[in-house]
Amino acid sequence: MRHRISKGTLTQLLPFMVGLLMVQTGLYAQGAGGRQGGPPPTPKAAAPIDLTGYWVSVVTEDWRYRMVMPLAGDYQGVPMTPAARKVADTWDLEKEKASPDQCKSFGAPSLLRVPGRLHITWQDDQTLRMDTDAGKQTRVFHFGNWQAPAGPATLQGDSVAQWELPRPGDPRQPPPPPDPNAPPPTHGSLKVTTTHLKGGYLRKNGVPYSDNANLMEYYDLLREHNGDLWMVVTTVTTDPMYLREPFMVSTHFKKQPSDAGWNPTACSATW
């Protein structure tokens, strides 16, 4: 026997089903939250997570490579090429102490591994700024179609940022179209791509990265049941000259309620 839904029933049901589909899609639309028909929100306004504030390194990993000077020749874990090994083997502690450039291990690929505090703020609606007390360094993350100015490579390079938002369903399929009426997303990550880097050290004992290195980072926030807020930064350094595969580490920071402990110190080749 064939069963039929009456036309009246279908008419009642259809709006419910369509509305449900709209809500589900809208929850995850990218760039959501603007007024209907208005300009899209700025990256600051559209931020799905709040990275601003003070953060402290919690050094539970690679302790003897980060909290103290590692041994000369200790390259555990770094997928170095023979060329990198050759360079690293010439590293000399006394020469480094005497060098006018004490900041080689404070470049973008290794900066977050230096124990210290971060202060993250919005420089403007399109630019997120990170200051570190260790080494007194500043990194600047540009959203949108920012073009790096011409000039030499720098220790912190040029960083382009974008928000990555959660999306439902099959990640192999294109995302659904953004819904301007959807509420702003409350989950997501910051993705930062950094190029134009001046060569430096991945570790203070001379493990090098070259001027050809690029950096990709993901910043995620995790809230624990005891109230702790963690920022986890996954860092991938690629360097065809000195790394035989991308060097991948994840560094964690705990949110601080204030600037207590903020202690700006100059770069040090040994400490």
Binding site: H3, I5, T9, Q12, L13, F16, L20
Partner: protein, 328 residues
Amino acid sequence: MTCWTAAAAFGLVLCGAMTSRAADPDYGGLDVVRVRPNFYMIAGAGGNIGVQIGSDGVVLVGAGSEAASDKVLTALRTLTPLPVRYIIDINADADFVGGNAKLAKAGQTIFTNLLGNTALAATMTNGLAAAILGHDSILQKMSAPTGKATAYPAEAWPTEAYFQKRKAIRMSDEGIEVLYQPAAHSGADSFAFFRGSDVVVAGDILDTTRFPVIDIANGGSVQGEIDALNKLIELAVAPIPFIYKGVGTYVIPGHGRLCEQMDVVDYRDMMVVVKDVVEDLIKQGKNLEQIQAAHPALPYENQYGSKTGPWTTNAFIEAVYKSLTGKK
């Protein structure tokens, strides 16, 4: 299909991931942990109680405290309508034998028909109450010489006391060994090993909530406690070689969570380490106060120790000290 039916169907789809669950059974406020399909542990009634349920009825190991007996009966009735046939006592502590009388009375002896003489059966079984089996040392502690006051009324005493190191019965087609452990937690400890269920009820020889109570005054000793733990390790079989399949023999401690062999090894190791440290301090000529001040059980104090209550860390160290020095 009506509109409401469709909406209800969608509701089920949306919430379908949640497993529907019936209301939790009433265990009288106690925690009843299913150990095997036919075996349970009742926690919260004083000492942990082992419960075997089968065609011959219920066998309890331990009876909990007197105050918790009603709750235990509620829990048992939720598990099965079958009567308690045996209570096996594995030590003489109040939180293990306090419920003897009430639980036995609520049960039913297997000797319902003694040569056709029901009256005789009633006389010999405390009014057709369930039997209470226990080592003679337990009977000695619970009873008293004629004319003296007893710690417990007669109906709480073991009705089947034995002197051997091992007593065995078979209930519900399962062999049950009651194995006396001399001079351990006290002078009256046993294990009850259910061979088919692969469960050992250990009493206070194993107590995951505190350092073992070594009742020196009543025959306990640190070496006896270690020997008993070693015996328990032997009895319990770990899930080797397929270590990820199940947990092997279950061990019901006197207090605390359900255990298995590795938990007993952890506890035994703790005893050996503390004993060794105290022994070393004794060799150095330290007295009890000096030894207590040295915190010989420091690695374990946070897990098992206490500064207050009936059994403190210092009391435990004192027991170990006295056991090793022979001082009373």
